[in-house]
C-alpha cells in the first residue's frame, strides 16, 4: 500500500497548450508543460523567445489567447496570489519611498504588518534595513536586491523572477543567485528568466530552453540528478 508521503508531489505549475498572440505575432506557440515543486528552474532563450510573456501569463498579468494555466492547484491565479512572489524586469518599487517604506506597503497588501518581516527580507538580500535613502537614489544593484526582497517578503511557495540579474554587477549577481539557492533549499519553487545561465550553474535544478515561443528542451542538471539519487521515491 502506498502512503500519502510516498505519492509524488502535485505539480506547482501546469501549462496546457498555452498560446499568446500580439496582433498577428505569436509570442507563445502551444506550450504544454508541468513543473514539480521545490525546484529551481532557469528559463533560457534569446530575446523574443517568449520567456517574459510566459512569466506574465503565469502571474496573471496577461491573459493567454488560448490554453490554460493551473497554478498551485488553482484554476484562478487570484485564489493563490498570496502564495506567489513575482519580480519583474522593472523594480516595481516607488522611487520616492525608502526601502523599508516600500516593503512595509507591499507587506500590507499581503496582510503582513510586522516590521520584522520587512527587516528580515532586506537583510536576506544583503541590504541594511536602517537605510533611510529613497530608492530613487539606490544603485541598480541595490534596487534589484530590494525588488527581490519585495518578491519574497510574504514567504511565497512559488517565486517567479524575470531577469533578476540585469544591470547588476557580477559580485551582487552571484550573491543574489546564492540567496535564491538558499530559498529553494527551504522547499520553495523558483523560476528564473535570465540570459546569464553561468550564474545559475550549480544552483539550478533544471534549465528550460525556449525558442520562438516554444519550450524546445528541458535539461536536468547534475544537482537535480544527485538529489534524486540521494532521495529515491
Amino acid at each position: 500500500m502506498t502512503g500519502p508521503s510516498d505519492l509524488p508531489s502535485p505539480p506547482v505549475i501546469v501549462l496546457e497548450n498555452l498560446v499568446k498572440f500580439f496582433g498577428r505575432f505569436a509570442a507563445l506557440r502551444g506550450i504544454s508543460a508541468s513543473f514539480a515543486p521545490g525546484r529551481l528552474y532557469v528559463i533560457l532563450g534569446d530575446n523574443g523567445a517568449g520567456k517574459s510573456t510566459l512569466l506574465r501569463i503565469v502571474t496573471g498579468l496577461m491573459q493567454p489567447s488560448q490554453g490554460k494555466v493551473t497554478l498551485l492547484g488553482a484554476g484562478s491565479i487570484r485564489e493563490v496570489a498570496h502564495r506567489v512572489g513575482y519580480m519583474a524586469h522593472a523594480p516595481l518599487l516607488y522611487d520616492e519611498l525608502s526601502g523599508m517604506e516600500n516593503l512595509r506597503y507591499f507587506a500590507g497588501l499581503y496582510g503582513l504588518h510586522d516590521d520584522n518581516v520587512c527587516e528580515r527580507a532586506m537583510t536576506m538580500v544583503g541590504l541594511d534595513p536602517e537605510l533611510s535613502r529613497r530608492i530613487g537614489q539606490y544603485s541598480q544593484g541595490m534596487r534589484q536586491r530590494l525588488s527581490l526582497a519585495r518578491a519574497v517578503l510574504h514567504d511565497p511557495e512559488l517565486i517567479l523572477l524575470d531577469e533578476p540579474f540585469s544591470n547588476v554587477d557580477v559580485r551582487s549577481a552571484r550573491e543574489m543567485a546564492a540567496v535564491l539557492g538558499r530559498v529553494r533549499d527551504k522547499g520553495k519553487t523558483i523560476f528564473v528568466v535570465t540570459h546569464q545561465a553561468a550564474l545559475m550553474e550549480g544552483i539550478a535544478d533544471e534549465f528550460v530552453h525556449m525558442t520562438a515561443g516554444q519550450i524546445v528542451a528541458r535539461e536536468a542538471t547534475a544537482r537535480k540528478a544527485n538529489a534524486q539519487v540521494e532521495t529515491p521515491s
Binding site: 502571474t59 519583474a88 518599487l93
Partner: protein, 224 residues
C-alpha cells in the same frame, strides 16, 4: 484584511508620495491660479456679475486643474511598473480604486480651500444664499469629478496619448454633474432660486457613478 484597510494603506502611501513630490498639487494650484487671475483681468466683473459667472468659472477651473492630479495618480503607478506589484498581490482592486479616488478628492479639496480666498478677493464674491450649501455642493461636485476622473484615468493609462485621452473621455460624461454644480453654485451665490434639485441630482450622480466605477474597475485594471 478588508477593502477599507487596504484602501487606507494605499491612500497613506499616496499622500506620502504627494507630500514628497508635490507633483499634483503644484500643477493644479498653478493652473487654477492662472485661470483666476487671467479671467479676472479679462472680464473685470462687478460683484453682481461675479455672482452670475462665478459658478461656471470656479467649476471649469477646478475641472481642468483636477486633470493634472488625475493624470498624476496613475502615472506614478506606471513608473517602475509598480501597478503590476499591486495586480499580482491578493489585495482587492476596489481598494486601489477607492484609495486613488479619495486621494484625488483630498487633493482637489485642498486646492479648493486654497483658491476660495482668491476667488473672493479677485471677484468680490459674497454669497446671498447660505454658505453651508456651497460647501455641500463643493464636496458632492468634487467627488463627481474625481470618481469618474480616477476611473477614466485608469482606463486611459495604456493608451499612447493618455494626457489627451482623459479629458476627451471625462468631460462629456461629466456634463450632467458640471451642469448641476454650476447651477447649484449660481443659485446659492445669487439667491435667485433653490439649489435643492441640483444638489439632489449631484448626490444621485455620485452614487450611480461610484457604484458603476467600483463594479467595473477590476476589468479596467486587468485590461491589456
Amino acid at each position: 484584511m478588508t477593502t477599507f484597510t487596504m484602501a487606507r494603506a494605499t491612500l497613506l502611501k499616496d499622500l506620502r508620495l504627494e507630500w514628497r513630490s508635490k507633483d499634483a498639487i503644484n500643477s493644479m494650484l498653478f493652473f487654477a491660479l492662472l485661470v483666476v487671475v487671467v479671467f479676472s483681468f479679462a472680464f473685470n466683473p462687478t460683484a453682481e456679475e461675479s455672482r452670475h459667472i462665478a459658478g461656471g468659472l470656479v467649476w471649469v477651473a477646478l475641472l481642468f486643474a483636477a486633470i493634472f492630479a488625475l493624470n498624476q495618480t496613475w502615472a506614478r503607478e506606471l513608473r517602475n511598473q509598480v501597478l503590476d506589484a499591486y495586480r499580482v498581490s491578493p489585495a482587492p482592486p476596489n481598494a486601489l480604486f477607492l484609495a486613488k479616488a479619495i486621494g484625488n478628492f483630498l487633493f482637489v479639496v485642498v486646492l479648493e480651500v486654497m483658491m476660495t480666498p482668491l476667488f473672493v478677493v479677485f471677484y468680490s464674491l459674497r454669497s446671498v444664499g447660505p454658505v453651508w450649501q456651497l460647501i455641500v455642493v463643493a464636496l458632492l461636485g468634487t467627488w463627481a469629478l474625481v470618481v469618474n476622473g480616477t476611473f477614466f484615468a485608469a482606463l486611459s493609462i495604456r493608451t499612447r496619448s493618455r494626457e489627451i485621452m482623459l479629458p476627451l473621455i471625462l468631460f462629456p460624461i461629466s456634463i450632467p454633474a458640471l451642469l448641476a454644480m454650476v447651477d447649484a453654485t449660481t443659485s446659492i451665490l445669487t439667491g435667485d432660486a433653490s439649489p435643492d434639485f441640483w444638489i439632489k441630482m449631484l448626490a444621485v450622480y455620485d452614487v450611480v457613478f461610484t457604484a458603476v466605477c467600483l463594479l467595473l474597475f477590476e476589468t479596467v485594471l486587468n485590461a491589456e
